[in-house]
Amino acid sequence: MAYDSFNILTSTAVPLPIENVDTDQIIPARFLKATERKGFGDNLFRDWRYNQDDSPKTDFVLNNSTYSGKILVGGRNFGSGSSREHAAWAIYDYGFRCVVSSFFADIFRNNCLNIGVLPVQVSPEFLNQIFEVIEQDPDTTLTVDLLNQKITLGAAEASENFEINSYKKENLLNGYDDIDYLNNIKTQIKDFASNTPL
């Protein structure tokens, strides 16, 4: 088992209604110098979260105790830019297990899936509804049901189905990763490689 399995998650959520949140914001490059996957959550959204003297920026959502939870809700085109998996690690290490947006950048989405953070893509209308409802009542929960591919806002206030390919879904439900799969077909890979010159 490569990471925690994911089944149903019910949690309050942290809203970040900004578009095009790039991975340099999620974790700036100067915090990528570690050689182990440890402690990245401390620097999640570092420059939006802290002033240059390391004091917290009070207007940033992670410094607002009204909002908490295991689900991060971001604006459209979340995770664009650099391929750094550290961005997904920072989100995980901070305590999030799911990111909701109306559109994800490709590499970021993959990185999340590969470490057991579920990216849930919803319609722009549903995303706006989530932002409105949780801003009005920060105690509202979201329920993300991977098996049924369904996300529900509040006590069934509204819900939507989301897409995920069945292979990745199976992996997440069981906590398997791609290396587990690839290792099992190594003979086939070696046969392929022997016909593929360098």
């Binding site: 182990e36 590969n114 190594k186």
Partner: protein, 464 residues
């Protein structure tokens, strides 16, 4: 069945297709650098797995390296430790390692093509989003995360669904002062930073055919900035001439055999794309960005658009302009700047330094400008010296640094100070990308040179 260039290369590398799931894609060549690889090597250690094909992986140090005094020990202990980890991992697993000070050292996407690691029809990955650069040679090349780096080390494969296909056709010819960087910034300004997400792009038409290999690399490099996994250009005589006789390209009868295959690498007449865009090269001006993502670019002659004319989030747009200290309706030309950076995997090749030299020759660096000239590799550095460009730079009061990623992502000491404006030939103008609080204006080497000698944003066509 009629196939696109992308189909031909992708399909020939599928080891296995999973129903309703990803393809298992075989990777011909893998490049690693110090920042995104240590956790992958650690993963192998924890799983007690060897590197399956070490001869298919190449390691270089670039992201975290200093660009002055490279002969001295690296001062920052964290950076030093990361570089040491890469060296140890490469040695332990029998991977070629071109570390700091090695004559082949340089930015991973600059040295790959220089030594012929990059070849047409190959699948190439690296834990870096600008791996798309190598698509200039008709390769499928794209950036991956660290989990995938581990997969490639352990099994030489990754698992991804086949992307959709997009073709961007540009005919006509480019005007004076318009470079490949402007072509890319123009396309991104039209498509936005998410316009090609989920797609692999093929660039076709006269404009791309006319570009040099360096120019094609600049265009393919920036594919990721419109969300695409990668971009590619069909190989032609220019491609073959560029790669012939390089260290890692086939020789003798292997070359003849490879050429036979490479010549089949083009999109068949009538093959289908999921999306197509067509532009006229003649409508492009020198470009500059004014906001905090690469899609926020425009002709250098224009005024910053107002939020009401922009599609999408007004709040995000206004936040971006506030960060930059700019207002809607302002013109870019004439605005003062503080720093100029020429370099990176986008514009750190010899052609870029030739372009920079063509403008600064006979002028002096503006007194208010700090300029960092950072070649993409030792090969580029040597060419700058051999071609006499260094003399031009020194006469104009510019200093040349040593190779590396440098201020493109400011992991080393090359950081633009908070609030300062940098005209940069790199690829991202995100908030704080070039240092906390830095303000980046992405542009071509010509625009950067014009800014460096005038101290303000200047249309380079007035100096040509």
């Amino acid at each position: 069945m009629k196939k696109t260039l992308f189909d031909k290369v992708w399909d020939s590398h599928v080891v296995k297709s999973i129903d309703q799931g990803p393809d298992v894609l075989f990777i011909d060549r893998h490049m690693v650098h110090e920042v995104t690889s240590p956790v992958a090597f650690l993963g192998l250690k924890n799983r007690k797995l060897p590197v399956l094909y070490p001869e298919r992986t190449f390691a270089t140090a670039d992201h975290n390296t200093p660009t002055i005094n490279q002969h001295l020990p690296v001062a920052d202990p964290l950076s030093r430790n990361q570089l040491k980890a890469l060296e140890e991992n490469a040695n332990e697993h029998g991977i070629s390692y071109w570390g700091l000070g090695h004559q082949k050292n340089g930015i991973v996407h600059v040295v790959g093509p220089e030594y012929g690691i990059t070849q047409p029809g190959a699948t190439i990955v690296c834990g870096d989003s600008h791996t798309s650069t190598h698509g200039a040679f008709g390769a499928i090349a794209f950036g991956i995360g660290t989990s995938e780096v581990e997969m490639v080390l352990a099994t030489q494969c990754i698992m991804q669904p086949k992307p959709k296909k997009m073709r961007i056709t540009m005919n006509g010819s480019l005007n004076k002062g318009v470079t490949p960087k402007d072509v890319a910034l123009f396309i991104i300004s039209k498509l936005t930073t998410s316009g090609a997400t989920g797609y692999f792009v093929e660039y076709a038409g006269e404009v791309f055919e006319d570009l040099s290999m360096e120019g094609r690399m600049t265009v393919c490099n920036l594919s990721i900035e419109m969300g695409a996994r990668g971009g590619m250009i069909a190989p032609d005589k220019k491609t073959f001439d560029y790669i012939k006789d390089r260290e890692f390209t086939p020789k003798g009868s292997d070359w003849t055999k490879a050429m036979k295959y490479w010549k089949t690498l083009h999109t068949d007449e009538g093959a289908a794309f999921d999306k197509e865009f067509t532009y006229d090269g003649a409508e492009i001006d020198p470009m500059i960005t004014f906001g905090t993502n690469p899609g926020m670019g425009m002709s250098i002659t224009k005024a910053i658009p107002s939020a009401s004319d922009i599609e999408g989030g007004k709040t995000t747009y206004e936040k971006s302009l506030e960060y930059m200290g700019y207002k809607e309706g302002e013109h870019m030309v004439g605005k003062p700047i503080d720093y100029v950076f020429i370099g990176s995997c986008t514009n750190g090749r010899i052609e870029d330094f030739r372009a920079f030299a063509s403008i600064v020759k006979g002028h002096k660096r503006a007194k208010n400008v700090t300029a960092w000239l950072v070649p993409g590799s030792h090969k580029v550095l040597n060419a700058i010296k051999d071609e006499g460009l260094l003399d031009v730079f020194e006469a104009a009061e510019f200093k040349l640094r040593e190779p590396g990623c440098s201020a493109c992502l400011a992991m080393n000491d090359d950081k633009i100070p908070a609030g300062k404006y940098a005209v940069s030939t790199s690829n991202r103008n995100f908030e704080g990308r070039q240092g906390p609080g830095s303000r980046t204006l992405l542009a071509s080497p010509l625009v950067a040179a014009a800014a460096a000698i005038t101290g303000k944003i200047t249309d380079p066509r007035t100096l040509i």
